[in-house]
Chain length 248, copies 2
DNA sequence: TTCGATTTGTTCGTATGTATT
DNA sequence: TAATACATACGAACAAATCGA
């Protein structure tokens, strides 16, 4: 009774598995649609249907005349390739109230490798409690003003060899680092927001009265194939900035 | 040198304009793809490409064997048609911390028609300051517990004849009301979030200490064709609930 | 219940245009 | 210029879901 899924879906899943396995790193094109069609023994339109889905899921981008690629986080952040860049801010939602989109500057405050995973974090990342973790604390500024204090938790098993120098000395964003050095292309995040009294560190960093309201953001970032790779707790000062979200 | 846009885009825009103009109200199918192809003088695949875009933008839904429709907000909220419903909560993001998705209950606290539009609200809705507005205040509960206090501002010109009885006596959600009675199908919202000290009414409703942190959400809802139809200011108690957002 | 008409879903194939190298 | 790759558009055939006779 169970009808098998359509061909384009099997091709999509096959491609997604290949991407999750690290074939086709960012910058190197996939086989052309004609070659993929030959490989899968189907029409070119069927391959296009499968790729369409992965493009919609932000796992791939097409470039006419060039090929199909895993999107490069930092390249997207740099290029103003079609109008004011949207992708650069896809995962950074704190903006000045006037809506300006200044890029944030990041200062590394702390970095530790080998901490055991706190019990409450483990289930979010699908790992064992006390698994070895990498921990970092960042201060984000916009236009020189401190707006967010981030704590990052990464399973060390997913980021072998990552140390403070490698983390601090990256070229672009942290997600660009995850992608270029470790092949983890973040394409989805879940965020849970609360309004909470400012913790001590946040109050100090933002020059806030203790207990003043701040926005607490708990984010889990997922790479291609729905693999959680990072948990982040941010506290943001929303006196002159806000968290922006558009649902379409 | 300016190449004209592809045929499918012109068809998409034409369909979108028809939807925004109120043809094909929710529940009545569009002409079949074959008929549309004949009308536009193109291949059926080209029509499908155009409809694909509108489906992706949540302006249309397809039903195999039945036709293509403007999605019905409340029908989506009622039917568990494929697994746990996601669309019902597409525009309601407050959830218990455990992730349960109980439907909120709404209590109407206040309703006024004819108030002049506050100057700061007018630009968000693209209308003139002091334009006549409809104002409503709602209390949202989840599992009996008050979690959000909403203030709604609607341009009266877009909701002719809407009075307290019509507003309070609706069948389903407010967005369902907008759609069924006035033809405004909300498909997109912009939300701006801040952590703020609880205003007096919110503190009372939530049994909070005055000045305790609450989440303030400013939402503008857009109907098909990017027409703003509602501004909403919500204050949410996030002690046991949170604002959930997934970016994909 | 069966059947046929209608409508969308899937898959195939082809031709031509446009961008890149 | 030529080769390659994606983008657009056309057309056809059959499958699957729906609905009413």
């Amino acid at each position: 009774m169970n009808a098998e899924p359509p061909l384009w879906r099997m091709i999509r899943d096959s491609l997604e598995a290949a991407l999750a396995a690290g074939e086709y790193p960012a910058g190197t094109p996939l086989p052309s649609e004609a070659k993929l069609a030959a490989r899968f023994g189907c029409a070119i339109g069927t391959v296009r249907r499968a790729v369409d889905e992965l493009v919609a899921a932000r796992a791939l981008v097409r470039r006419q005349g060039r090929g199909t690629f895993v999107p490069d986080h930092d390249a997207m952040a740099r290029l103003p390739h079609d109008g004011p860049d949207r992708t650069a801010f896809y995962f950074f939602h704190i903006r000045p109230e006037d809506g300006a989109r200044l890029p944030p500057e990041t200062e590394l405050l702390d970095f530790r490798a080998g901490l055991p995973c706190p019990a409450w974090i483990a289930p979010h990342l699908g790992i064992a409690a006390r698994a070895p973790m990498i921990f970092a604390r960042n201060l984000q500024r916009i236009g020189g003003r401190a707006v967010a204090l981030d704590e990052l938790w990464l399973p060390r098993a997913l980021f072998p060899g990552l140390d403070r120098a490698g983390f601090a000395g990256r070229d672009g964003t942290v997600y660009g680092l995850y992608q270029k050095r470790f092949g983890h292309s973040v394409i989805r995040t879940d965020e849970r927001l609360k309004a909470v009294p400012a913790p001590a560190e946040a109050a100090t960093a933002f020059d806030l009265a203790p207990g003043a309201p701040v926005l607490r953001i708990l984010r889990v970032a997922y790479a291609i194939g729905d693999r959680p790779v990072e948990l982040r707790i941010s506290h943001a000062d929303t006196r002159e900035h806000e968290y922006f979200n558009t649902l379409a």
